[in-house]
Symmetry: C2
Subunit: 193 residues, 2 copies
């Protein structure tokens, strides 16, 4: 564990949830977000999509910080074969939440750990099934009006009030929040050992 | 939602996690813990055990606060047909965590909503499967030495560092933390509507 704690680490993401999650497992790190543009028209399967962008984000920060471990991540929601990223506006949120109502969708998070000088390049992903109760019009409008969801894939946060609408999950909870802690710890501890 | 927020509510539990979870879903409430002694030698199935004690806790506080909604809850971990409550000491924690290593166990939380004057008495439970990675001796000792686990059934917190050892869950995440938010919201909103 000490080698993990002592590693020179950068989180290549401005997501406050990812920051909180890395802190939760005792790591110290700097935050430097990448400027990678995500093209949702790219023809990739969900697992390849999140792996591709996680790697791009980590690489872009790793190149200019070659002596740090850099963690990049990318999260998407997939419902009925459609990829949902972050909503553009309230109407977009309404459409996303309506499509998730009464359905089980999948949340994919890709993670990439890079270290330029040590030639480390490890990319993996995790997937979690999330089952949502049937949402009424009031449920959706109350949530959109009272919670911040424009920075969240699929327009919801499993860690906020929306929890009351989540019937069950199957997989890693923290993967839905944006970082699969168990698989991240597994890979990272094998890299720095 | 307003009727939920405006309800006169007491949480009959001193668990800081349960307090945080009720706050997360926007409820305001007082905390009054019950003085119910749990007998782990009682011959009840896990679902009946947590329902029985959740109800006893809620009832004991409801009797002296007859004009409040009172929520009581009880959480246990069941691994290989053995009920694990809170550990007595570090040796007990070591035994519990060793027994969970590499296994899938079940977490049961019973919840009881009581309102003496309105004759409301609703008790239910939820169950979540939790799969733990194989833990080394170092993993267990590091966790016992660095984290507070004496107030937690099964000797672990899914919301703290132990998250790195949890491979997956199947069910409600918040049920493992001590309150199944989705089923609580479902039942409570039908009671106060």
């Amino acid at each position: 564990m000490n080698k993990l704690i002592d590693s020179q680490l950068i989180l290549a993401s401005k997501s406050p949830r990812r920051k909180d999650l890395l802190k939760k497992i005792g790591l110290t790190f700097k935050v430097k977000s990448s400027k990678v543009y995500e093209d949702f028209n790219i023809k990739l399967l969900p697992a390849d999509f999140v792996s591709h962008y996680a790697k791009m984000k980590a690489e872009s920060v790793s190149k200019v910080n070659p002596n740090y471990y850099v963690i990049g991540a990318d999260t998407i929601v997939v419902c009925n074969d459609k990829i949902l990223g972050k909503p553009n506006d309230k109407n977009d949120s309404y459409r996303m939440l309506s499509s998730l109502s009464g359905q089980t969708h999948k949340v994919y998070t890709g993670v990439s750990i890079q270290h330029n000088n040590h030639k480390i390049d490890k990319t993996f992903y995790d997937v979690t099934d999330v089952s949502i109760n049937t949402l009424t019009n009031n449920d959706i409008c109350y949530y959109i009006d009272n919670y911040k969801l424009f920075d969240k894939a699929g327009s919801y946060g499993i860690q906020d009030f929306f929890a009351v609408h989540i019937n069950k999950i199957n997989g890693c909870f923290y993967n839905v929040m944006g970082l699969p802690l168990s698989s991240l710890y597994y890979h990272f501890s094998r890299i720095v050992k």
